[in-house]
Symmetry: C2
Subunit: 417 residues, 2 copies
């Protein structure tokens, strides 16, 4: 049996399971999740043992540092996984929600009803907890999930996926609703992307090489690859507030997509704002790179290159540019931003209004940190990624963003004239 035939057979089972899962009651889904949480806690030592095997292989192949850190499970991480499964059980079920309803002059009653998307494939890298986190969110949203994790976490992923499938089976749900692709062969991704008839959506969670591997996908993608976020300190900014927001946006967690990469400062306040701000950044270990005007104010820092303005550092590095106007700031963000999250700090209502209207990013902030672009911070109770797509879902994705809808139309014999 070829790899393609083998995966296709798995996909067909996942598709079949999606039909019954779509009709599964909220109670049964939640009971399944609660029993999974229990099983995770009860089997913590087996999970750690599988993870140990993955870590040994990774170390012997020369992996180190942050990579191993992401790959490592601990008792605390397993407890956190179990807790997050219970939290998903507690979330409202999006399936069957009536989004809108209205009646027509001819008496037809129309309801727009939320329904599962179908089959969702999630392709992720080395964090084994994603197997559980992404698996249970998709499950709760009523869609079958096809999980494809990084090969470095294969032992732990295989075990976690098996536990998830076992919980479904114990609840009388077709376990193919959680399908795990257990081959480390990278061809698997090529096969997944060729089967739009079996997969409705691929959610990739990974970097540039995954993006390349998915180019030309026949299955729609919900990408969230890039986050190149800006903060614009307007001339009418409360400069103390601006300092707190900028510091938080850059320093609180520099490795994530909603961290600030480019700081824009209005020329009228630059000389007043930048020295104290720069001092604080430098004290926190941030490497600053400035345009000429910035370097004239803070001479100690590097000059930014053209490339810097388009670089998502994901690190303690920040590029700073002084602009003459809000127009220049907005144009700069359009040109260099990734459309994920951009902020203005201003006390001027008309500047705020222009910024919110003219900056076309998934999340636009007035006087707050870009770091809030996150499903939990938005109150979604979960996060299944942050979309930089313009279609279907944009920005933080919760359970509802994993669904679609249908119209239910009730009549009493109406026909069209």
């Amino acid at each position: 049996m070829t790899l393609e035939a083998q995966i296709l057979s798995q996909l067909k089972k996942a598709r079949a399971a999606s039909h019954s899962l779509a009709l599964c009651s909220t109670e049964r889904k939640n009971a399944t999740l609660l029993s999974l949480a229990k099983a995770l806690r009860a089997n913590a030592s087996a999970i750690l043992e599988a993870n140990r095997k993955d870590l040994e292989v990774a170390k012997s192949s020369g992996r180190a540092g942050a990579f191993l850190e992401r790959l490592t499970l601990t008792d605390a991480r397993i407890a956190a996984m179990a807790k997050s499964v219970e939290e998903v059980a507690a979330l409202p079920d999006p399936v069957g929600e009536i989004m809108e309803s209205w009646s027509r002059p001819n008496g037809l009653q129309i309801q727009k009803m939320r329904v599962p998307l179908g089959v969702i494939a999630i392709i992720y890298e080395s964090r084994p907890n994603v197997t559980i986190d992404a698996g249970v969110l998709t499950f709760k949203s009523g869609s079958a999930v096809v999980l494809r994790g990084g090969k470095e976490a294969l032992a732990a992923n295989t075990l976690l996926a098996r536990m998830l499938a076992r919980s479904l089976e114990d609840s009388g749900i077709d376990p193919a609703a959680v399908t795990f692709i257990d081959t480390p062969d990278r061809d698997a991704i090529q096969i997944l992307k060729r089967h739009p008839e079996e997969i409705d959506l691929i959610i990739p969670r990974g970097g540039g090489s995954l993006k390349e591997a998915l180019a030309g996908s026949a299955v729609p993608l919900m990408p969230h690859f890039d986050g190149l976020c800006h903060t614009f300190v307007d001339r009418a900014a409360d400069l103390k507030m601006a300092e707190e927001i900028c510091f938080n946006a850059k320093v609180s967690r520099p490795s994530v997509c909603n961290a600030m990469e480019n700081l824009l400062v209005h020329r009228e306040v630059a000389a007043k704002f930048l020295p104290a701000m720069a001092k604080r950044f430098i004290a926190a270990g941030v490497e600053l790179r400035g345009d000429e005007a910035t370097c004239a104010i803070i001479p100690a820092i590097k000059h930014a290159t053209d490339e810097d303005w388009d670089t998502e550092y994901l690190d303690l590095i920040l590029s700073i540019k002084i602009v003459d106007s809000i127009d220049e700031a907005i144009a700069f963000i359009r040109r260099h931003g990734s459309g994920l999250a951009d902020a203005i700090v201003t006390q001027d209502a008309s500047a705020a209004a222009r910024f919110e209207r003219e900056v076309d990013s998934a999340t636009v902030y007035i006087n707050a940190s870009t770091r809030f672009t996150d499903g939990f911070e938005f109150g979604f109770g979960a996060e299944t990624g942050i979309s930089t797509n313009r279609l279907h879902a944009r920005g933080p994705m919760g359970l509802r963003e994993l669904t679609t809808y249908k119209y239910v139309v009730r009549g009493e014999g109406q026909v069209r004239s």
Copy 2:
């Protein structure tokens, strides 16, 4: 200049125009539309003259019948176009609509705001009125549009697109917001589908050869190619109502995607229902094809082949099958339906509830004709197609379905802990 360079240059201008159009006021958009409606009426004779040229070419290349009918413009059709432009002006502007808003415990105010999609390409066939209809709907939705019509309507399309662009220009709007691809070269479609950085969405309006031409598109598609609709006459149906609904679904306009192609009848009522129904269909010129059980009741008709159940006739042909249960009907629809529109006729509330829950089509009807799957019939005031996609928009698409959203988050200095 190669065709690719030429089209790419047009696309870049359309992208630039989309940014300013997105900020255009409702008043200015509506004034533009009203002046276009006037221009259409004032220039009717020039439009008819261009159409005459198209018709001559089409006739001399052997086109005939329904094709020429679709291609033909008349004074009445031009008046209808102008009227529909005025109707679009009267529709509410979707841009800027606050879809939801809430506040977070930390005081952040979050608004989900409807915004334009960006650049939408519409690829259509021989009806020249689509240039105006699709052009003005996209314009009102705030997106730039790239129009690519069938080569047989080139003269009329070119003139209509020019009139549309002129109306924009006269209102001080960048005319590249309505970009017309005027080459008859089919390579143009291949070029459009390669540029996701310039086009956010392609809406194809056409048949199988267009579907094939768009395979492997790097730009997301919103297809609405197929409509294979079912009506299921349940054992608890009001048979007189069922007869009216089935007759309407098949006969009122057989050439459209929401017409019924397969009729399913519960065995318990088949002998009572089918003879009168068949008589009425046959009198209306409908060719009936039945499974064995149906042919036993109406011996005069053809036997349906396996292929019949999967064929969208778009014609006065209907396949009829007798089923033993609602389960069989639902399974049959899952297997053979296109997910566009399916109906049940029943007085049994539990059968209706099962059907609406288990049939996963864009529009599911209880006791009404599938022919209501239409933006106008749904009260959208417009129709930009009927999507069989599961992502972004499903079923009848109005103005709102051409948009996306962003989140506007207002704070007073909040930072993330």
